[in-house]
C-alpha cells in the first residue's frame, strides 16, 4: 500500500493541520516508508492467531463508582484562552 499527495491533504484536513505543498511531498515519502514496514508485517500469516491487545496479557482495572474529583474550575479556566459565565469560549461552531 502507498499513499500520494491527495491522501496527505485529506489526512491533514481530518487532523486539522495545514500541510504546505513542499511538506506534502516529503510527508508522503516518509509515511510510505512506514507503510512499507507495515506491508512486511502484514505478509506474515496470522490466520490462526488470536489478536493480542497487549503483550502482558493484562486486563483493565475498574474503579469504584465514587466521586473523587472536586470542582477545580477556577484553576482550569485560569489557563483557558477565553471564558464567560463558567463556560469555555471557542470560535463559533454551528452546523
Amino acid at each position: 500500500m502507498s499513499i500520494d499527495r491527495t491522501d496527505i491533504e485529506k489526512l491533514g484536513e481530518l487532523a486539522r493541520i495545514h500541510i504546505s505543498d513542499e511538506n506534502a511531498q516529503a510527508s508522503a515519502k516518509r509515511i510510505n516508508e512506514v507503510l512499507a514496514l507495515v506491508d512486511q508485517l502484514q505478509a506474515v500469516d496470522t490466520s490462526n492467531i488470536e489478536p493480542l491487545a497487549n503483550p502482558l496479557g493484562a486486563r483493565q482495572r475498574l474503579r469504584l463508582d465514587t466521586v473523587s474529583e472536586t470542582n477545580r474550575r477556577e484553576a482550569f479556566q485560569a489557563i483557558a484562552p477565553a471564558t464567560e459565565d463558567g463556560l469555555y469560549l471557542v470560535p463559533k461552531v454551528i452546523e
Partner: protein, 482 residues
C-alpha cells in the same frame, strides 16, 4: 404504489452512575457549568482513563435483560472527530468488541400482536459536553459537565416498519432501562436520545438508501421526524429523484429537519483501538450474578399486576406503560385496599387531569399516598365516588389531605341508618301520589319507579346519603306498604 418503510434505531442511554465513565467527577444533573469537569474530562495532557465498574455492571444488566450474549472480553476504540464539546478530539467507544452482543426486545402493537425487534449490539461509550450557541460575542460557549457521562448506545436491526412501531420500541426500551434502574429516564434532561435510520422501498425490493436523523429527545419528536422523513423520501422517489445518504437534524421548535452540511469526509472517523485502555474481561460467574440480581422486568410486572391485583390485561398495559405510573399505581393499590378502584382512578381521573395540564405523574400535585387515602374513604363508605371526585379536585388545587377536605366541606356520607330511615319516611310521607302509583304498578315495573324516591332522598340529604343504604331502606319501607 405501495412503499414500505424500514426503520432502525440507535438509542443513547445515559447510565445512572454517580461518576463519569473514565473519571471520578460527578454526573449529577444541573450543576453550574464546568464544575463537574475534571482534568480527565478536559483531556489535560498526562491524564489516563480508568473505567467505572458500575458502568460495566449496568451495561451487563441491560444485556441480560434483553437475553443478549455478553461480550466477556470487550474493548474500547477511539472514534476520531473534532468538535469542541469533545476535548480529546475523539470519543472513546466500542466498535469491534462491544460489551452487549445480539439480543431481542418484544414490542406490543396496537392490533394486539407482538413483534420482535432484534438488537444488533449495545456498546459502552462516553457522552460529549454541551455547546451553547447563544451570543457570546460571536463565539460558542462550552459546558463539559456532561463530557464523559457513561452511555450505552443500543443499536437495533432495521426491524421496524412504521413510526408507531419505532415509538413502541423506544418506549419499551425506556421502560426497561428505568425498571432495572440503569437510567433515570428523564427525557427532558437528555437521558435518552434517539438517532433514527429511515429508508423506504417498494414492497419486497432491496433496502433503499437510508438517512439518519440525529438527536431526537422525545417520543413525539421521533414520531414526527420519521413521518416527515418517510414523506420526503417517497416524494423524492416518486418524482424520479434519489435519496442521498445524509445526516439530518430535527428541530423540535419548528418541527422541521434539515440536512447537516455534510463534508465529504464527515464519516471518516478513523477508528483504532484505544491504547489507554486494556481489554475489559468479565467472567460468566459475574454475568450470572448480575442476572440473578436483576430487578423485575416490565413484562413480569405486567403479569404480576394481572395476577395479584386482578386487573384486566388492558389496565395492566396502561399502568405498566411507564415505570413512574406503575410505581404510583402500586403505592395507591397497596395502601387503599382496592386495586380495581385504584386502577380506575389512576387511569381515569388522575390520567385525565395530568394530561390536560401536561404534567408528568412524578410531579403530580396529588401524591400516590394522598390518592390512596382518598380511595380508602370510598372503600370504607365515608364518601361516594361522586364526592371523591370533588375532593380530588380540591386536593389537586392543593387544599390538603382528603380527610381534612371531607371534614371542611361537610362531605361525609350519611351512613347512620336512623338518619336515613327518617329521610326515607319523610319522602314517602310527602309523596302520596307516587306511593299510590307504585302500589298499583306491576311488580316488574316497580324497580324503575324507585328512581323518583331515590332522587328525592338524595336531594333531601344534599347528596350525602349512602346510596346503597338508601336503596335498601327504601325498598324495605315501600314493600311494607304493599
Amino acid at each position: 404504489m405501495t412503499w414500505e418503510t424500514v426503520i432502525g434505531l440507535e438509542v443513547h442511554t445515559q447510565l445512572a452512575t454517580k461518576t463519569k465513565i473514565f473519571s471520578g467527577a460527578s454526573t449529577e444533573f444541573g450543576a453550574a457549568p464546568n464544575t463537574q469537569a475534571c482534568a480527565i474530562d478536559l483531556a489535560m495532557p498526562g491524564t489516563l482513563p480508568v473505567l467505572n465498574a458500575e458502568a460495566v455492571r449496568m451495561a451487563v444488566m441491560f444485556g441480560v435483560a434483553i437475553g443478549a450474549e455478553i461480550g466477556l472480553v470487550s474493548a474500547f476504540d477511539r472514534k476520531n472527530y473534532f468538535y469542541p464539546d469533545s476535548p480529546k478530539g475523539y470519543q472513546t467507544t466500542q466498535l469491534a468488541k462491544p460489551i452487549v452482543l445480539a439480543g431481542e426486545v418484544d414490542i406490543q402493537l396496537d392490533d394486539g400482536t407482538t413483534k420482535t425487534v432484534r438488537i444488533h449490539h449495545a456498546h459502552l461509550e462516553e457522552d460529549a459536553g454541551k455547546s451553547l450557541h447563544e451570543d457570546f460575542h460571536g463565539m460558542s460557549g462550552i459546558d463539559l459537565n456532561r463530557a464523559g457521562t457513561p452511555l450505552i448506545e443500543i443499536v437495533s436491526e432495521p426491524d421496524m416498519n412504521s413510526p408507531e412501531e419505532a415509538v413502541a420500541f423506544a418506549k419499551k426500551l425506556h421502560a426497561l432501562v428505568v425498571s432495572i434502574g440503569i437510567c433515570d429516564g428523564e427525557m427532558a434532561q437528555g437521558s435518552m436520545r434517539f438517532d433514527v435510520n429511515v429508508s423506504v422501498r417498494k414492497k419486497g425490493a432491496e433496502l433503499g438508501m437510508r438517512t439518519e436523523t440525529k438527536n431526537l429527545n422525545s417520543f413525539r419528536f421521533m414520531e414526527r421526524a420519521i413521518v416527515q422523513e418517510v414523506e420526503r423520501q417517497i416524494d423524492l422517489l416518486e418524482d424520479g429523484g434519489k435519496v442521498k445518504q445524509e445526516t439530518r437534524l430535527y428541530d423540535g421548535d419548528t418541527h422541521t429537519a434539515r440536512s447537516m452540511r455534510s463534508k465529504e469526509e464527515a464519516n471518516d472517523y478513523r477508528y483504532f483501538p484505544c491504547p489507554d485502555l486494556l481489554p475489559v474481561e468479565i467472567d460468566q460467574a459475574y454475568v450470572d450474578a448480575v442476572k440473578a440480581a436483576l430487578p423485575e422486568l416490565p413484562e413480569a410486572r405486567h403479569q404480576r399486576f394481572i395476577e395479584s391485583f386482578d386487573l384486566s390485561a388492558y389496565d395492566a398495559t396502561v399502568l405498566c406503560d411507564d415505570m413512574a405510573t406503575a410505581h404510583y399505581f402500586e403505592t395507591v393499590a397497596s395502601q387503599c385496599g382496592d386495586a380495581k378502584l385504584a386502577a380506575n382512578w389512576v387511569t381515569g381521573e388522575l390520567a385525565a387531569k395530568l394530561n390536560s395540564e401536561e404534567q408528568a405523574i412524578q410531579h403530580s400535585p396529588v401524591s400516590a399516598e394522598q390518592l390512596a387515602a382518598l380511595i380508602a374513604r370510598i372503600v370504607d363508605k365515608t364518601i361516594s365516588n361522586k364526592m371523591a371526585r370533588e375532593v380530588f379536585a380540591a386536593m389537586w388545587q392543593g387544599e390538603g389531605e382528603p380527610d381534612t377536605i371531607i371534614e371542611a366541606r361537610g362531605l361525609k356520607q350519611v351512613s347512620d341508618s336512623g338518619a336515613i330511615e327518617a329521610m326515607v319516611d319523610e319522602v314517602i310521607a310527602n309523596s302520596a301520589k307516587q306511593v299510590e302509583n307504585y302500589r298499583n304498578a306491576d311488580a316488574a315495573k316497580r324497580p324503575k319507579m324507585l328512581g323518583y324516591f331515590v332522587g328525592q332522598i338524595m336531594k333531601a340529604s344534599k347528596g350525602q346519603a349512602n346510596p346503597q343504604q338508601v336503596n335498601e331502606v327504601l325498598l324495605k319501607k315501600l314493600n311494607e306498604l304493599l
